[in-house]
Subunit: 430 residues, 2 copies
């Protein structure tokens, strides 16, 4: 245990960066007791020096060029809170690690895309690379899987990884509202970004899923292998039909590894009431992992925001201050396997299918023939006469079967004059 | 990273000990990838060498005297799975640590009683002392609080820490059965010990709570400061009344630290439906921690059994193999504070009170006068005419007030000829 302070440079002073400063101030003595030494901010960098962030920054050295932080002799660890998979964040990461600095980041996009390269560089330089805040905010799920569940072969990880989507879906559920209305309200309240596409199109959750999969399975990060669909096409009727069937609609990231390879998908799903992910509401994140000895583990908490994200960043700093080492992904990059991608069409599951159709004779016959010809076995079907002129909702659930059968059935129905808009498919999680 | 194997001695070959051997066999290669080296069992010791444990033990050195494991030159870490707060387990722990061995244990009683002494010895010897399996079985909650939440001042920890009690309470709930019947069934099924008193009287949960409190608050372990009440006195009527009010009965360990000191209690509680601990059924364990920056964290999973406990033991071994160090309780023993015990009577809460009374005039007047004179404000009250001759159930809930008021009211009613048996008091967790 060293009595020298751990000297930190902060790159980026948005909500999370300011939160880190606040946390290090508020819990300074407690952190020193836990870490065995104090953690001191030595230097900071951000775009706008003049902006009031609610914290006193005058006591820290300031550099305008964020990349300069990597070269400072008075810094042991660089904390990157700029964001973006490439650009200044990546440049800083490469330089800081090459300069022998520890590196802590909340940047899921960068770790999902460049995590293997950076982890390899960190191993070569003998420094720590840590990113607990990149997945599920304050919830220590990276540590939980990388260390807590390390004795297990993990078969599958399921998670609610994007608080914005979960907030929107649970608001739609609570109020019966449509997607667009809830999104607008969420933007007004600051729960959704002005450009919300990274969140609502599932990209943010996919970044996190690719990182989780690497830690859980010991496979190389494969963001491009994640099948991604967001929540834009979920309508109020889907949530109502799901509820009638005993399910809730959630954006679920699932990663599974078996003899067929690695399967990664982010998509809205029907989650059975009673499943731990079904009752997760609002901006909460939760991850369920299935280990061969431990069974099912659940980690849950706040997935974003100043306090939770700062908590995860500073936990990483305390680990470094304590001398708790270990590799970024739980094993050396050279030991990570390059898992083949499993054929998504082969995945066997039940599914929910929803169509908006013209209210005319023969439509149901056409739909059901399409299912039959695609090889889909229908478990339940309901048609709801809509009050408006925009057609009738038909929802069905299928028996378990390969995903490719559903795709084949929908292909047969493509272009049908009976259909209004594109059908919605959601896997069922029981 | 060393390429030498980590050599382990196993003391105790009951369910968990055999599970550790099975796990190290089953996931041998995966563990070696994660740990950076293999983990090898070098020697074992147990009471009965001849017993068939379903694993091949002939390949390991055997010693009849468990204490001999501490002195072996071919051992880096001793794993203690004997149990008991003192006796052979404690002797082994002291000797192993003094001999410079790492020490891993699932022994909550020993850590609750002697954890500070052993942690201090481990610090002096420069070896690891780890006990993830001692609390919540396979759920990495010690790591989660000690490291994952380390940046936070934690205000309170609530947990379902005993799977036997939770199994019994959730079976009583599901079947409307009485305690004695469910206990007998649980014993028949192997979910409860032949002598179940450590579990059902709350002592096991109290051991775990004292450990959790130490990690969460940085206070010295104070098992004797835990107020303990088990579940023997919970009757089917309590569970029915709780359900009618929107609550479930759970054995909850709560530890809170504030300016008044450290408060630790294990007691059956009414937990509001919707609270994460209310939906925990069967032998599952769960812990909720409230941090000042991270907010509420939830950890949940299997709290006991061969696989989950072995998972936690081997996770500790992997940490040691990886060279992940750190102190046993998250800070040096010298930094742990000796928190004063908070006055339990000052704790403000709502409570559920249940009486079995004679079915005669004036009883309710007597009860309500007792409440008034004790200073308890009644929120709701119900009397249920019972079908049998053993009296009538009266249940009430109180407004929030100091626990000492309830105690004072019950003291006034003590010895009343109207009461059959002792009243039941359960705090309400909203």
């Amino acid at each position: 245990m060293s009595s020298e302070p751990l000297r930190v440079a902060l790159a980026g002073l948005g909500t999370v960066g300011a939160g880190v400063v606040k946390l290090l101030d508020a819990n300074r003595d407690l952190i020193a007791r836990r870490a065995g030494r104090t953690i001191e901010v030595a230097a900071v960098s951000a775009r706008d020096r003049a902006r009031d962030r609610g914290v006193d920054l005058a006591r820290f050295a300031w550099t305008d060029d964020v990349a300069d932080l990597a070269g400072r002799d008075d810094v042991d660890v660089v904390v990157e809170l700029i964001g973006g998979s490439d650009g200044p964040a990546l440049t800083l990461a490469r330089r800081a690690i090459a300069a022998g600095k520890g590196f802590v980041t909340a940047n899921k996009a960068m770790i999902a895309h460049h995590g293997a390269e950076l982890a390899e560089a960190a191993e070569a330089a003998g420094v720590a690379l840590k990113f607990e805040a990149a997945v599920a905010g304050g919830v220590p799920v990276i540590k939980g899987l990388r260390e807590g569940a390390a004795a297990n072969a993990i078969a599958q990880v399921d998670g609610i990884l994007n608080g914005t989507c979960n907030y929107i879906l649970s608001e739609m559920e609570a109020k019966g509202s449509d997607f667009a209305d809830v999104l607008a309200e969420a933007q007004r309240l600051g729960f959704a970004e002005a450009d919300p596409s990274f969140d609502i199109d599932g990209v943010d959750a996919a970044h996190k899923l690719a990182i989780l999969a690497t830690v859980a399975f010991g496979t190389r990060p494969d963001f491009d292998g994640v099948e991604v669909r967001g929540i834009r096409d979920v309508v109020a009727g889907d949530i109502a039909e799901a509820a009638a069937l005993g399910y809730r609609v959630r954006l679920i990231g699932v990663a599974a590894a078996d003899a067929h390879g690695l399967y990664q998908r982010v998509t809205p799903c029907l989650v059975r009431e009673g499943h731990p992910l079904a009752r997760v509401t609002g901006a909460t994140n939760a991850v369920v992992a299935e280990g061969d000895f431990v069974g099912r583990l659940l980690f849950e908490g706040r997935g974003a925001g100043e306090g939770p994200t700062a908590s995860a960043v500073v936990a990483d700093l305390i680990d470094i201050a304590r001398g708790i080492g270990g590799t970024a992904f739980g094993m050396p990059v050279a030991s990570l396997s390059a898992a083949a991608r499993a054929d998504p069409g082969a995945r066997r599951e039940r599914a929910y299918l929803r169509f908006i159709v013209q209210d005319r004779a023969g439509v149901l016959a056409e739909l059901t023939a399409g299912m039959r010809d695609g090889g889909v076995s229908i478990e339940s079907m309901i048609q709801r006469g809509a009050g408006d002129s925009e057609g009738v909702l038909v929802a069905m659930t299928t028996h378990e079967g390969p995903a490719r059968a559903v795709a084949a059935a929908l292909e047969r129905l493509e272009g049908s004059a009976s259909l209004i808009g594109r059908p919605m498919v959601m896997p069922i999680v029981d």
